[in-house]
Amino acid sequence: MTRSLRIGFIPLVDAAALIVAVDKGFAAEEGLDITLLREVSWSNVRDKLNLGLFDAAHLLAPVAIASSLGLGHVKVPIVAPFNLALNGNAITVSPALHAAIMSELSGDPLDPMATALALSRVVAARRKKGAEPLIFGMTFPFSTHNYQLRFWMAAGGVDPDEDVRLVVLPPPYMVDSLANGHVDAFCVGAPWNSVAVDHGVGHILHFVADILVRAAEKVLAVRQDWSEKNADILAALVRALARAAEFVEEPQHRAEAARILALPERIGIDAEVIQRTLDGRLKVSPDGTMRESNRYLLVGREGVARPDPVQAAWLYAQMVRWGQASISPDALHTAKSVFRPALYDAALGQSGEPADAARAVGAFAGPAFDADDIAGHLAAFRIGRWKP
């Protein structure tokens, strides 16, 4: 029997596994008739998922956690049986800010500690001159982009709430805002960093992989009660996604995947830009300088697809650090149990942890992350909004 599902998504390259699962027919082979619904804001995706207008959604991992904790909105328990992507974001800065950071830089420009320290010197010099604080764009209060920007600049001594301004901007407006000076920099997913570089209005300063080796980005999210009532359908969906995630990562299929994703009703941008993203081969400067990294965006390799509760704990720790969530063992437990490796394992008929699971978050600053001691971990960071 074919089962119809409505799944919401935002047009970003990290929706690749979901879009390919549908358009390549993997979902249909699992007996699923999926209608993909493109949305314009994360708030809409969250609300429509919470209300049951969507059965499932491509969702920012922190939004799934915030929804389960009832932060900023109605409390609706969400579970994530599949991790759609790790990494994939980048920090892009205006040519003027790029020049300022480079002139203050001592060390390797790919070393985030060196650039964060340079940023703090730029910020101090601006303050001395009486200049307006720098403005950084990010996509949502509960977003990886918000936490990644904050983590990076705070490591160099820049307080993200006091020394600069962080503002939410919808991704399609990022490039224009950088071009007309409404923001000085932004952190966003693909394709928007490349679009800014291609238009000559931005330099990619960092791939998020420079800041965190493994950062959970988007998940396939469903309501917890829905997952309990529709276990078989959810398992079929996870299998279709797993197949699609592997397909996307096969070098010989990249061009086809990019063509599918480029369709106007999907992501709707140039297939070539999408393929560059999947390949981790990005133009980082308007002068044509290229940078390659096989860690830029991970979809179906290195055990990415299996949700890792340690990642959920790290995101929760950022919510605590920046004053969005209070610290409690219950909240930590709730956050961790949003990510459900057991559902993933059950769908794919595997048991227990894969032997090659590389689980480190791998942040460039601070001690190794301890998912069982958030307070102890956060005590190592000087800048933050939380009180033990």
Partner: protein, 196 residues
């Protein structure tokens, strides 16, 4: 805002017609302090300058995520804002999402003062959607009509039919193939273009 005065309402909507329909409805209902923002650039600073009690935004607007920032504790935020949701009132949020609108309110504004604003907003948004739908249908009917007339002309010329016979042929073919007359007419135009 004084306890009895009309709350200040900001409408964030890029559709000038829909915003006008909503604004008119709110004024008729006695809400006099209504401001419409159609320009999304620097949205937050404009909202802070207006300092509204209620913000209404359409769901087709990507800037809805910008408003979510107002929940955050930050130096930039002067008054805490909450989304108008109530854990016990799922029907009201469902109705507003269905209609395509969302409301944000200043913390502390009483629910019974916001509810009539939201209800009015939902009914006006639905009325606008219906109007839009009728307009679209009228447009496509007009388009169909033009296509059917041209197809009739082709059939009359090629098959020596009267206008009525040509129409009967189009209609019976459409019924047999379970398609709309407009679609059959379009395929006749396409075929005749190809066979030219």
């Amino acid at each position: 805002m004084g306890a009895e005065s009309s709350p200040k309402i900001v409408i964030v909507d890029e559709s000038p017609i829909r915003a006008a329909i909503l604004e008119e409805g709110l004024r008729e209902a006695g809400f006099t302090g209504v401001v419409h923002i159609s320009e999304m650039q620097s949205l937050l600073s404009r909202i802070y300058a207006l300092d509204p009690d209620v913000i209404l935004i359409d769901l087709e607007n990507p800037s809805r995520d910008v408003l979510e920032q107002m929940f955050q504790v930050s130096r930039a935020v002067r008054r805490p804002i909450a989304m108008f949701v109530d854990q016990s009132d799922a029907a009201s949020i469902q109705a507003s999402v269905d209609a395509g609108v969302s409301a944000y309110i200043v913390d502390g504004l009483k629910k019974e003062r916001v509810k009539p604003i939201l209800d009015l907003c939902i009914s006006r948004f639905n009325a606008f959607a219906k109007l839009q739908d009728e307009l679209d249908r009228a447009k496509s009917a007009l388009e169909d009509r033009k296509v059917i007339d041209r197809a009739k002309g082709i059939l009359m010329k090629r098959k020596g039919l009267t206008e009525e016979e040509a129409y009967v042929l189009l209609r019976s073919t459409a019924m047999r193939e379970k398609k709309k007359i407009g679609e059959i007419a379009q395929s006749i135009l396409t075929a005749s273009e190809l066979l030219k």
